[in-house]
């Protein structure tokens, strides 16, 4: 019961802040609402008894990536109206199409999700040879998901080298 109350409160905050992120006029305020949103998502992870994910969520998203967003937003003048995309008709059509697609997707997920209830979700955690949330995440990353993990790190490396090459013409 208490868990349900906590979940719905957190979910309401997350959705509320998400709406504020896209509806606020001031870009810096919108980025700040995004930080609040990430903090509440971290609280959701705590509720799922995944403290490691919660802390990483704060460290990487709230404390790292959004700081860079904030830098860009502060240093680029966004008060000027956009010039290239002045055709409001085209954007509204595209937006409508996309939101219909997302709505259909959500309905589909909802219907299929209802049919599948009762399947134990924690089965994977109970057969693992290590205990503790951090150890379990590490174990999964280095056994079942080793190749996706390595590919992701290669992608990051490529992005980093690309950024260095772009920023520094003569090496």
């Amino acid at each position: 019961m208490g868990e349900a109350i906590a979940f719905y409160t957190l979910a309401a905050f997350i959705l509320g802040f998400a709406v504020l992120v896209v509806s606020t006029k001031d870009t810096v305020h919108s980025v700040l609402f995004l930080v609040l949103d990430f903090l509440f998502v971290a609280a959701l992870y705590v509720l799922l008894s995944a403290p490691f994910l919660a802390v990483i969520q704060i460290l990487v998203y709230a404390g790292g990536i959004v700081v860079l967003y904030l830098f860009v937003v502060m240093l680029v003048n966004l008060k000027r109206p956009p010039e290239a995309h002045q055709d409001p008709r085209r954007r509204s059509k595209l937006g409508f199409g996309l939101s219909v697609a997302v709505l259909l997707e959500l309905v589909a997920v909802g219907l299929i999700g209802v049919n599948e209830t009762g399947r134990p979700v924690t089965a994977a955690a109970s057969v693992m040879p290590v205990s503790g949330n951090t150890e379990q995440v590490g174990w999964l990353l280095y056994t079942s998901y080793l190749i996706p993990f390595e590919i992701a790190s290669m992608l990051l490396l490529v992005a980093m080298i690309g950024a260095i090459v772009l920023a520094k013409r003569e090496l």
Binding site: I58, G63, V67, N133, T134
Partner: protein, 342 residues
């Protein structure tokens, strides 16, 4: 009911109040030590030897006029001091001041909580503290605070990398992320980690100075260049909040250094039998003593060293400290594997 609600609440109250009093007296200590270094007396008028000076300072800051610049972003301007103060205080939730002791016939642990991701919690909360500085500079709508806040955040982000890498070496040594677990690992291993990880400790200490914007890395507050820093436009109690947050962060760095590298609440040589009389001194006293030594060194460094130039600071961070920290981490990992195989 008492164990799950009243005791934690009491502990939080005690730790919060002790921190705030400690922070105000930290300011007095700094003024006194710097005065002694420069052959002055420091504050002497308020109370004997100026011991009531923090009270006078607090009253002065509270009755000052609270000014918000006309063109400032009002909401963000109000929120920024709070955003820098809150992370500095909630870090104390995982810092262990001592082990479990019996108090009035009840087992009481001398820490608020011991989560199994304690060290990561400290790092992540500290990373959120950057927002206070960035937003203060942005919301003031004034050029010097903005420049100072950009400098400060670039400095914090750069040094965070080196500090976090040294923490990974400590985690490799202890095999746990829990702060209590790290102290226990030093007890079981018969050695403080500062002696097996000297490189990590030195990098952590330098990084800690830079992360708290202390001299010789106090670029964000370089008065000659920036007329004060990211808090130039703040006055009264809001300015005081920034000031308190900075000193609270110093105490955080000192207590984390104590916990990770100097055995936390352990007495010197915890396993040598003939030094057992040292156990008569309670464990939390050892913790506070070690933390105090660190804070004293912070002030001592400020009184001794001149300020770095900004490009020198960035070069030190990226080209010296980070490669050293990575090398230290690799060596630690190899030695650890060899010891397991042996």
């Amino acid at each position: 009911m008492i164990d799950s609600f009243v005791v934690p609440l009491l502990k939080i109250l005690i730790v919060l109040n002790a921190t705030l009093v400690g922070v105000t007296y930290m300011v007095l200590l700094e003024r006194k030590v710097i005065a002694w270094t420069q052959s002055r007396l420091g504050p002497m008028r308020v109370g004997p030897y100026g011991i009531l000076q923090p009270v006078a300072d607090a009253v002065k800051l509270m009755i000052k006029e609270d000014i918000t610049p006309v063109r400032a972003d009002k909401w963000v301007f109000t929120a920024a001091p709070i955003i820098s103060m809150v992370p500095a205080l909630i870090v104390y939730a995982v810092i262990p001041f001592g082990p479990e002791v019996s108090l009035f016939g009840r087992r009481v642990s001398l820490f608020i909580t011991d989560v199994n991701v304690g060290l990561l919690y400290v790092v992540s909360v500290a990373s959120v503290g950057v927002y206070g500085i960035i937003l203060a500079g942005y919301a003031s709508n004034s050029k010097y605070p903005l420049l100072a806040s950009l400098r400060a955040s670039a400095q914090l982000i750069s040094y965070e990398v080196a500090v976090t890498l040294t923490l990974v070496s400590v985690i490799l040594m202890s095999g746990t992320l829990s702060m209590v677990g790290i102290v226990n690992a030093q007890y079981n291993g018969n050695v403080w980690f500062a002696f097996v990880q000297p490189v990590a400790f030195v990098i952590f200490f330098i990084g800690g100075l830079a992360e708290t914007n202390r001299a010789p890395f106090d670029m964000p507050e370089a008065e000659q260049e920036l007329t004060g820093g990211f808090h130039t436009e703040y006055s009264g109690m809001r300015f005081a909040l920034f000031f308190l947050a900075e000193y609270a962060n110093m105490i955080v760095v000192a207590s984390v250094a104590t916990t990770l590298f100097f055995g936390g609440w352990l007495r010197p040589f915890p396993n040598v039998a003939f030094l057992r009389f040292l156990d008569l001194i309670p464990s939390w006293t050892w913790f506070l003593l070690k933390t105090f030594v660190f804070l004293y060194i912070f002030i001592w460094v400020r009184a001794t060293l001149p300020r770095y130039r900004y490009d020198q600071l960035m070069r030190l961070g990226w080209k010296v400290l980070i490669p050293l920290a990575i090398g230290n981490l690799v060596v630690t990992g190899i030695v650890k594997v060899l010891m397991v195989m042996w």
